[in-house]
């Protein structure tokens, strides 16, 4: 007869291993990783080592000389990017960044501390590129590059959203997102990447947008919104496509075209441009503002960014207006001028309605629609009825890329305060430059990664819950397409009574258009405040 265990032997040990981080290997299980890049997508992009594999496999089918590829890749980047070289050596491990990462706060996993995430790469750098590391090894935090290290990189560099909140607190200004960016770039050299990045990047490269929607379908979708707007207020807007000689090219993330609630934001753009009579065109080729190349490599970012400018040149527009997007703006604001600029075939953007010249975009020639709209409002060019949004008690989520990536804090709030009457801020250490990421940025917004995203978004949701409980906030606005896709899901799990809105959806609701019929519903077809009875009568 089998030995019956004693009660003490049955006791569960609910304590995680106390091994040193270097001795704690990454363990992959369904739900804690994103699916790897499909071979067909890697081939389209010309990326290394296309193959079928899974992070749960023992053998990752790395190239035979993978170690050499990584070390040479690192050597090349240390020479190329001075920031990387400096960041490798200057960290004093003060810990200021340690508890600032949303993924760390939500998971409690120390390898999500920015300092430790950087150590994943630094430890290899020390071993291979510094004398102290070569001689003293682990004593000075150096370690050999092994397949386990690659697996650990894959797990943790694809568990960072490159939001850069940590960099804000570093006394040396170390940007840990750069470690993630370089780490992912190195992983790409040996074919370790995720399909939620490789797929959209491949589609964008081939067809012009992340979903791979072809020109006729793209136009068809926008025509569909034209009908929807007409049903709301009787106005038929008339967007044009690929029109040469237009004053502006308008580029927005394709998420606005296909995914709710971004679609309502897109209706807001269409209505605004119609109302002010803007001479602009859509492009069915540069039909994507997002840039998943940015999450792959600098080279891929450059490649995908360039199509927007190539299209602007082909169409002969004066300048570009960009929609509500996150990382598109980070790329434009921080990289475009270096990688593809200056865009000297265009003119410094100037509002044809107000005459304002946007010198902040003197080199990139591309302005954010929110600054364009804020300028229209400031100059009294829009008739707005904020009471149409009176059913919403609003708060605002600063998207990481527009907030920390381009210092864009006040323009969205200015617009919001003009189109809504009820607005409450979340606590100061969760907004503006200290904003918490949605948890799904930098290509992690995939469904197989759901529980990780819920962890990563926990600090943001926690702040939303606070204003929900304190002020009755029921609406969360944002100016990023990833946010519009990720935050509704995040709210569903953590604060189900809060709905997510793009800023220009609210503008579209409040905009009083010339010749419009009386509105009874908002852009979602929901009754406007005070019109609930009309709705019932219709039924």
């Amino acid at each position: 007869m089998a030995k019956v265990p004693k009660p003490s032997e049955l006791e569960l040990q609910h304590v995680l291993p106390k091994t040193d981080w270097m001795d704690t290997p990454a363990v992959f299980r369904p739900g804690n990783f994103s699916y790897p890049g499909k071979a067909k997508n890697l081939k389209v992009l010309g990326l290394a080592n296309p193959r079928e594999w899974s992070p749960m496999d023992e053998d990752w089918k790395l190239p035979a000389d993978w170690k050499n590829i990584i070390l040479e890749g690192l050597r090349e980047r240390l020479d190329k990017y001075r920031t990387l070289k400096v960041f490798m050596d200057i960290c004093v491990r003060c810990g200021a960044c340690a508890d600032k990462c949303h993924y760390y706060l939500g998971s409690g996993d120390p390898k999500n501390m920015p300092v430790l995430r950087a150590e994943l790469l630094r430890s290899v750098y020390r071993k291979e590129f510094t004398l102290a590391g070569k001689i003293m090894g682990k004593m000075v935090g150096a370690r050999d590059l092994t397949e386990d290290v690659i697996k650990e990189w894959f797990m943790y560099f694809f568990q960072c959203t490159e939001c850069r909140r940590c960099s804000l607190f570093c006394p040396y200004g170390i940007d840990t997102a750069e470690f993630t960016i370089i780490g992912r770039e190195l992983l790409n050299l040996i074919g370790c990447n995720i399909d939620w990045i490789a797929g959209p990047a491949a589609n964008c490269y081939q067809t012009g947008n992340h979903l791979g929607i072809q020109p006729h379908a793209f136009k068809d979708m926008i025509d569909f919104f034209v009908d929807e707007i007409e049903a709301v207020n009787g106005i038929r807007v008339e967007p044009t496509f690929n029109r040469k000689g237009a004053e502006f090219l308008f580029v927005t993330p394709s998420g606005d075209v296909f995914a709710d609630p971004g679609t309502y934001t897109l209706m807001g753009y269409l209505m605004l441009f119609h109302e002010i009579g803007l001479d602009y065109t859509w492009s069915t080729y540069a039909s994507e503002g997002g840039n998943f190349g940015f999450f792959t490599s600098h080279e891929m970012m450059k490649r995908l960014n360039s199509k927007m400018y190539a299209e602007a040149k082909r169409l002969g527009v004066k300048s570009i207006i960009g929609g509500e997007c996150g990382h598109m703006w980070r790329v434009i604001n921080q990289y475009m001028d270096t990688v593809n600029g200056p865009a000297d075939f265009m003119e410094v953007p100037k509002s044809p309605i107000t005459g304002t010249r946007f010198d902040n975009a003197a080199s990139t020639k591309m302005i954010h629609i929110v600054e364009f709209t804020a300028d229209l409002i400031k100059n009294g060019k829009l008739k707005l009825d904020a009471s149409r949004n009176d059913n919403l008690v609003m708060t605002y989520h600063d998207s990481c890329n527009t907030a920390r990536g381009m210092g864009f804090f006040d323009e969205p709030r200015y617009v919001l305060n003009n189109v809504c009457n009820n607005f409450y801020e979340m606590p100061p250490n969760t907004i503006r430059e200290q904003t918490f990421c949605c948890g799904s940025g930098s290509g992690l917004n995939n469904d197989e990664f759901m529980e990780m995203r819920m962890r990563g978004g926990l600090p943001r949701a926690n702040a939303v819950r606070h204003v929900h409980e304190k002020f009755g906030v029921n609406a969360l606005s944002c100016i990023c397409a990833i946010d519009r896709a990720a935050l509704p899901t995040l709210m569903n799990y953590w604060v189900p009574d809060v709905t997510v809105y793009g800023l220009h959806e609210l503008v579209g609701n409040a905009l009083v258009m010339e010749g419009e019929t009386e509105r009874t519903t908002d852009l979602r077809g929901e009754p406007l405040p005070g019109m609930e009875d009309n709705e019932n009568e219709d039924i």
Binding site: A98, F258, A259, M454, T489
Partner: protein, 169 residues
Amino acid sequence: MAIEHHLKKHREEISQKWFDLLACTYPQQTVRLFKKESDPFANPVGQTFKAAIGEILDEFLGENRAEALAPLLDKVIRVRAVQSFSPSEALGFIFGLKKLVEEILEEELAEGEMEMGDLREFEGKVEAMGLLAFDVYTRCRESLFEIKITEMKSNTRRLLERAQLIIGE
């Protein structure tokens, strides 16, 4: 029941130790953060746990109504349901309360201020809370799967809607 009276007397100690027990299921560096940082936005998990543990305890030692206890348990379990815990690890802290209380009441038990039977009855209540926690955990995981489906639908709804319109024409 006599034991409730004694437990309420030790409420602060129980609450503190129960929180410690919960926090100690995380790596050492994280335990420090959970315990030390008092700003609920700089330490959302630690502070949520701290507040919820107190609330759970008050309800549990008070009226102990399942409908009031479930949303309080949800505050802790919703977090642990998306972290790297197996279901048993996520809910182990509930059962840890038994041993913890027995240790705290050791003296009073020895001095005969209460019967062992009282303690056993209390342990039965903890087990009932454990079962309730199991329901809450399952609901959290179910909602995770539901929102996954909702998200996939909303990502493609427009395309499908459009496609159906075309077919319908």
